[in-house]
């Protein structure tokens, strides 16, 4: 993000310079050059627009619908809201899913935009005073390079293997989350429409989970998810455990939570270098 901010600053500088040049060319009567520079200026402004749009997109991977606060109770700090949602799901999850879970089951508004900086804030806090909080919202780690898995949040107190993402883990975690959501819904008396919609998003992509939205039963969604889960679980678990052991023995404390950076890992090609 630093890189983007920097290039935005450069673009702004360039836009200013170009404006000055256009003005000079226009005043000196050099129309061809003024025109050419104008075109440059438009291009630079377009690039600036794009860069800003990109920043916005990155800063808000979640489209936050303007939700009317359910019961305007005291708003939990964002990290606690995320902790709640992740605990319910029991697996690492992307901000979008975390927001959906929050909306489905918890009171108050969750600001999706604030999720982006959360992981960084948590890392900063951990670095300055390690283990001073009961838990941290941290990264999931890729199984091969033990680096932060893109776009996933996890809880530091989970067993390491649960935070490892191997090739089968995205599907395994999807099914596990489906079961968790289904079970949670079956326990509450009057699930909100957002909760049923969330369950349907899982059910629609699990074979045999439900005939259709109206015919959906939490128990059969959970059963179908379990059936598919059984197919992948063993292979996934053993890989996650192996990688988890490697992470515990090879990574520093902060890396265990937030991912290793550019460390050469034996057995992977690509020649990632030690840096920083």
């Amino acid at each position: 993000m630093v890189g983007v901010a920097e290039s935005i600053a450069n673009l702004e500088k360039r836009i200013d310079q170009l404006r000055a040049e256009v003005r000079r060319a226009a005043m000196s009567g050099d129309r061809a050059r003024a025109r050419a520079l104008r075109a440059e200026l438009r291009e630079a402004e377009r690039a600036w627009d794009d860069a800003i749009a990109e920043v916005e997109r990155k800063a808000a991977p979640v489209e936050v619908e303007p939700v009317t606060p359910k019961q305007a109770g005291p708003l939990l700090p964002i990290r606690e809201q995320v902790h709640q949602a992740l605990t319910l799901l029991s697996v690492p999850a992307a901000p979008k899913l975390i927001v959906a879970v929050h909306e489905a089951f918890f009171a108050g508004q969750m600001l999706g935009t604030r999720l982006t900086s959360l992981r960084r804030d948590e890392e900063r806090s951990f670095r300055s005073a390690p283990y001073s909080r009961p838990y941290y919202i941290c990264s999931a780690l890729t199984a091969d390079l033990l680096s932060a898995a893109r776009g996933l949040l996890a809880i530091s107190t989970w067993p390491m293997s649960r935070r490892i993402i191997g090739p089968l883990s995205p599907r395994v975690d999807f099914l596990t989350a489906a079961i968790a959501v289904a079970e949670h819904i079956s326990r509450i008396p009057d699930p909100a429409p957002a909760a049923t919609r969330l369950l349907w998003r899982f059910a629609a992509n699990i074979p045999g989970a439900a005939e259709g939205f109206d015919a959906m039963e939490p128990a059969s969604v959970a059963r179908a998810a379990e059936a598919e889960l059984a197919v992948h679980l063993d292979a996934d678990t053993s890989l996650r455990e192996q990688a988890g052991q490697r992470a515990r023995s090879q990574l520093s404390d902060v890396e265990q939570l937030f991912g290793s950076r550019l460390r050469a890992v034996p057995g992977t090609s690509g020649g990632a270098r030690e840096a920083e």
């Binding site: 450069n10 500088k13 360039r14 310079q17 170009l18 040049e21 061809a32 050059r33 025109r35 050419a36 520079l37 075109a39 440059e40 438009r42 291009e43 630079a44 627009d49 794009d50 749009a53 997109r57 991977p61 992307a94 979008k96 899913l97 890729t142 390079l145 033990l146 680096s147 932060a148 898995a149 893109r150 090739p167 089968l168 883990s169 995205p170 599907r171 395994v172 975690d173 999807f174 989350a177 899982f202 629609a204 992509n205 074979p207 598919e228 197919v231 992948h232 991912g259 290793s260 950076r261 550019l262 460390r263 890992v265 992977t268 090609s269 690509g270 020649g271 990632a272 270098r273 840096a275």
Partner: protein, 380 residues
């Protein structure tokens, strides 16, 4: 850097080369006879910027809105371990339930240099190819390479390669809608050509690894929103025809040296930007440089090349600007002025133009007569 590369670097000037992607490569192939485009593209010149600078800005390109929409749809299809994509592949292609493995090749532990990314894509795909089913099903954002005009260009792909029954398929996710099984033909054609570029690059990779090119299927999977919903659907499209065209055009581009040999040695499209990034080169001088490289304007350029408005303006008097069939019907005469002159007899035909001149004069007479007939009809 060999001689050709040094030459191309000089032509491009002191700016980084534009990246190629499947879109630019597909467009590259749409006017293979144009030396101007071949040189600009081989050198990696930013044509959009160049065209705007000489006051003929391109009027195409994707709107920010379309890009955002495309990204959102892609993210949706890939969300939650590619849940929606897996459903489609299972329903439409019979992907077995156990095959769900997903590798994200975009980031390599924070090291995103292209060499590292390419090496990783290559090694993971090699492993998958060697061990067959079960050793990898979905590969997101593999970085591929394709040789363009004698240079290896990295392709920044937004695709998933997907292995089924020991074969790789290219999955292309596009956000235009398929309504009742029909989609905008132009958009489909563009998407399919782009997918063919990926098939070709992926085939290069598997051949390097010692497999037959057919290890990569010529059927690509196109994923689009269905009807007016956001629910994705998938279709298989055969891209063999596009592959043939693509290969032929790329082999022409490979002979860029021959083109360069005919051009002035000092040719450059450098805009001579100063420290603040403000170009200082007079636009007229850029135009002059452009004119030294021959173009071959056709109306299709308007959809595929950033230089189109400049070249159209330049070709105003050129019958080819009216399209190939029109030029042929005008007896192959190249300039509009000459066509008119020959037709009304004010221009004496050169020896090889006699036949064409007779035809044109006859056409002019016919036109005259039918116009008169029409006028008489009105008078009556």
């Amino acid at each position: 850097m060999n001689e050709t590369e040094a030459r191309l670097a000089r032509i491009r000037g002191a700016v980084p080369a534009r990246d190629h992607n499947a879109r630019t490569i597909a467009a590259l192939c749409s006017n293979p006879g144009c030396a101007r485009r071949a040189v600009l593209d081989a050198a990696g010149v930013d044509k959009q910027r160049l065209a705007a600078y000489i006051d003929f800005p391109a009027r195409f390109g994707q709107s920010q809105f379309a890009i955002t929409r495309g990204n959102a749809f892609e993210a949706q299809v890939k969300a939650n371990g590619c849940a929606e994509l897996l459903r489609l592949l299972r329903e439409k292609l019979g992907l077995p339930i156990p095959e769900v493995s997903y590798d994200d090749l975009e980031l390599v532990g924070g090291n995103d240099s292209r060499e590292v990314r390419y090496a990783r894509s290559r090694s993971l795909l090699a492993r998958a190819a060697a061990s067959g089913a079960g050793a990898g099903t979905l590969f997101d954002h593999p970085l591929l390479r394709l040789e363009i005009g004698g240079r290896k260009a990295y392709l920044e792909p937004d695709l998933i390669a997907f292995q089924l029954h020991d074969r790789f398929h290219v999955v292309e996710i596009k956000s235009f809608a398929v309504i009742d099984g029909q989609a905008d033909a132009g958009k489909v054609a563009a998407a399919v050509t782009q997918a063919a570029v990926y098939v070709l690059a992926l085939r290069d990779l598997v051949t390097e690894l010692g497999y037959a090119p057919e290890k990569v299927a010529h059927d690509v999977v196109l994923v689009c929103p269905e009807n007016f919903s956001n629910r994705p659907t998938a279709v298989l499209v055969d891209v063999r025809k596009q592959l043939t065209v693509l290969k032929r055009q790329l082999s022409r581009l490979a002979r860029i040296d021959e083109l360069l040999a005919a051009l002035p040695a000092e040719l450059t499209f450098d805009l001579e930007v100063d420290d603040a990034g403000v170009p200082t080169r007079p636009a007229a001088s850029v135009v002059e440089a452009l004119r030294t490289v021959q173009a071959r304007y056709t109306p299709e350029c308007l959809d595929t090349c950033e230089m189109a408005y400049f070249c159209r303006d330049e070709a105003r008097d050129d019958t080819a600007a009216l399209g190939r069939t029109v030029r042929d019907e005008l007896g192959g005469i190249e300039s509009v002025t000459n066509v008119l002159g020959l037709a009304n007899g004010s221009l004496a035909p050169a020896a090889e133009q006699v036949e064409a001149a007779q035809l044109l004069q006859m056409a002019a007479r016919l036109r005259e007569e039918s116009l008169m007939a029409m006028l008489r009809g009105v008078a009556l």
